[in-house]
């Protein structure tokens, strides 16, 4: 395991302006989708980013993919800031950071043979390497990639509609792997798949990580998936990190009340005992007007007077395990 982080995210913020009118647009307010988020991913490791809809996990991953520009903060890949990358440097970045999205039905071009989809990813990301003009070499690499994701080389000649959901997700993965990336953003990669297919895909992702030493940023809402895939977990609520820990210590010792509620809402596949279930009242407040102080205080079962006044800082409670909650102020 290397000690230098591959990707560093420092004080990342993304505020979307909410406007009214077209010509003389007025700004009504800002949606703080991501608000001061920092974490690291090491080479060959998986970081799980967990939270409910609207918590900012997808916006964070889009900023890492350079599809959104942060309002504030920095993203560094191998100590190089990614903001302002242009031309060849930007292409090189895109080749190093790839993505697989949730829905394998919309992420592949239905009019393109899958071999062509994979080859295109190879050509586009080959930044300046003239050798990728050679069709035989491209074909060879496409065959290799299809085998790597558990498909047959001759399937390169088929169209996406001839594949099942799980197979399409393998094609999307092959296209992402084409440029030998250092990091792949996996945005809910298995949640659209059936249970038995999901397990195949998770095993495949782990095998590929072991072979290629690629790092994953796994955006997911299913904690059991995260437990099986991730080395570290970041839990987000309304644009903020509420808890951050190595997977093993998080699952052994959940600290933040929100994370606890999230864990207790996970329905275990088995005859359930639910004496200690925490049912959160209400819904996630609007990110347009997040609650003052701790953003979770409106739904927290352990709320104290200072929670609505003062925002808790993210502080370490045990090695590598950080929590943003006033319950741990004295810890």
């Amino acid at each position: 395991m290397t000690s230098e982080p591959l990707l560093r995210v420092e004080g990342l913020r993304k505020h979307f302006a909410l406007t009214k009118g077209i010509l003389f647009a007025r700004t009504l307010g800002y949606i703080k989708a991501v608000d001061d988020v920092s974490f690291e991913i090491r080479a060959g490791e998986t970081l799980g980013l967990v939270g409910e809809s609207g918590c900012g996990k997808t916006t964070t991953s889009r900023m890492i993919l350079n599809l959104e520009t942060p309002t504030e903060g920095r993203i560094l890949l191998e100590d190089e800031p990614i903001q302002g990358l242009q031309g060849a440097a930007l292409s090189a970045y895109r080749a190093k950071v790839q993505a697989v999205f949730q829905d394998p039905w919309s992420s592949l071009n239905p009019r393109m043979k899958v071999g062509r989809t994979i080859a295109e990813s190879l050509i586009v990301n080959a930044s300046g390497d003239r050798a990728w003009g050679d069709p035989a070499r491209i074909d060879g690499r496409v065959r290799e990639l299809l085998l790597q994701v558990g498909l047959r080389p001759e399937q390169a000649q088929q169209y996406p509609h001839e594949f099942s959901g799980g197979q399409r997700q393998r094609v999307a993965l092959a296209a992402a792997l084409a440029s030998r990336p250092k990091l792949i953003v996996l945005d809910e990669p298995v949640s659209a798949l059936d249970v038995s297919i999901r397990a195949q895909m998770m095993n495949l992702l782990k095998d590929i990580q072991a072979e290629d030493d690629v790092a994953y940023l796994l955006v997911a809402h299913d904690l059991a998936t995260v437990r099986h895939m991730a080395d570290h977990v970041v839990v987000m609520y309304l644009g903020k990190i509420v808890e951050q820990a190595p997977t093993v210590s998080l699952f052994a010792d959940v600290r933040h009340p929100y994370t606890k509620a999230l864990f207790s809402a996970v329905l275990v596949a088995g005859p359930n005992r639910h004496e200690n279930e925490i049912e959160l009242k209400g819904e996630v407040p609007s990110p347009l007007d997040p609650p003052a102080g701790c953003r979770f205080h409106t739904r927290c079962p352990y709320v104290m007077p200072r929670c609505s006044l003062q925002e808790p800082a993210l502080r370490e409670v045990s090695p590598g395990h950080a929590v943003a909650c006033h319950l741990f102020d004295d810890a």
Binding site: R227, H228, L262, V268, A269, G270, E277, G282
Partner: protein, 325 residues
């Protein structure tokens, strides 16, 4: 309390008749549902679980789907023999349904109040004020805060969890004996999912309705169901009490399916997978439908479909290899 049988489905066959051939999506499904009970209908996409539900409601998709055989006995009366007009009286009052996506179940151009009113007026006539009072009460029953204000709102002004509550309020407004819930929480976040499941349980305790709960999520099954029926390629392959299905699954498909679910505790290793694909519903094998993917396959599995074997108290499995009890 679980009482007498309210719904009994016998040997249901619903097929799609297409130009290319016949898709046997539901092909011999039988089960029963008792008052106050939650029966889970579990399976992967394309196994026929949703089409089973639509067959019970007699709301088959246009384009060649027909129920060609079987009986659906609601309080002893075969509703497959009722006329479309009679069916409209049955739907909503005696059997009701909640679908997966609350976004598409509600009409975006009518207010919540209007949509509830429509459901209530089908059951009882009254002045506008009376019906509106009833609608507010229906929203309060599904635990929507400030129902008097919400009643004038439109679906887009509500969150997904709230919309699904409104759909629930409409579905139970006629006090049906049977509620079919087709993946009602799949589109919701986990904490909202838990709220909704608990609400359904509370409503069931109040009304004593029977719930047929369709899902692919074994976590939801464990939380909600009294009994589980596992479907594969158009048939129920195993049916039994929830505890037995989890602790001692008998059919190899059920066993493999439960083993492939990532767990929240225990060792983290490679997940068990089921290799291969389900058979095409247009070209089903004569033998066991799971045979091509089964680790225990034998010649007799390929030659003939196994009968339904009793393997325990209220527990059955369709497999040649299980031990009858």
């Amino acid at each position: 309390m679980i009482g007498e049988t309210v719904l009994e489905v016998r040997d249901l066959h619903t097929h799609f008749f297409l130009r290319r051939g016949v898709v046997k999506a539901v092909d011999g499904v039988s089960f029963s549902l008792r008052r106050g009970e939650v029966l889970g209908l579990v399976g992967e996409s394309g196994c026929g679980k949703s089409l089973t539900a639509l067959s019970l409601m007699r709301l088959l998709p246009k384009g060649g789907a027909r129920t060609i055989k079987g009986e659906v006995l609601l309080d002893g009366e075969n509703i497959l023999e009722r006329t479309p007009a009679e069916m409209r009286e049955i739907r909503g009052r005696r059997i009701s349904m909640v679908l997966q996506d609350p976004q598409t179940s509600l009409n975006p151009v009518f207010s919540i109040g209007d949509q509830l009113r429509e459901a209530i007026e089908r059951r009882q006539r009254g002045t506008r004020a009376e019906v509106m009072k009833e609608a507010v009460a229906a929203l309060r029953r599904v635990e929507i805060a400030a129902p008097e204000q919400r009643i004038g709102q439109y679906p887009h002004q509500m969150s997904g969890g709230m919309k699904q509550r409104v759909v629930g309020a409409i579905a139970i407004s006629g006090e049906p004996a049977v509620l079919i819930a087709d993946e009602p929480t799949t589109a919701l976040d986990v904490t909202i999912q838990l709220q909704y499941l608990k609400l359904l349980k509370r409503l069931q305790a109040e009304t004593g309705m029977a719930i047929l709960f369709i899902t692919h999520d074994f976590g939801v099954v464990g939380r909600m169901c009294d009994r589980v029926a596992v479907m594969y390629a158009g048939r129920i392959v195993e049916c039994g009490p929830v505890r037995q299905i989890f602790e001692a699954p008998q059919h190899p498909y059920t066993r493999a399916l439960i083993a492939s679910v990532p767990k929240m505790s225990g060792p983290i290793g490679r997940l068990t997978t089921i290799e291969g694909q389900p058979p095409s519903l247009m070209d089903l094998p004569v033998g066991c439908r799971f045979a091509s993917r089964c680790a225990l396959v034998e010649q007799r599995c390929l030659d003939a479909y196994p009968g339904t074997v009793r393997v325990g108290e209220e527990h059955t499995a369709d497999c040649w290899k299980v031990v009858p009890r």
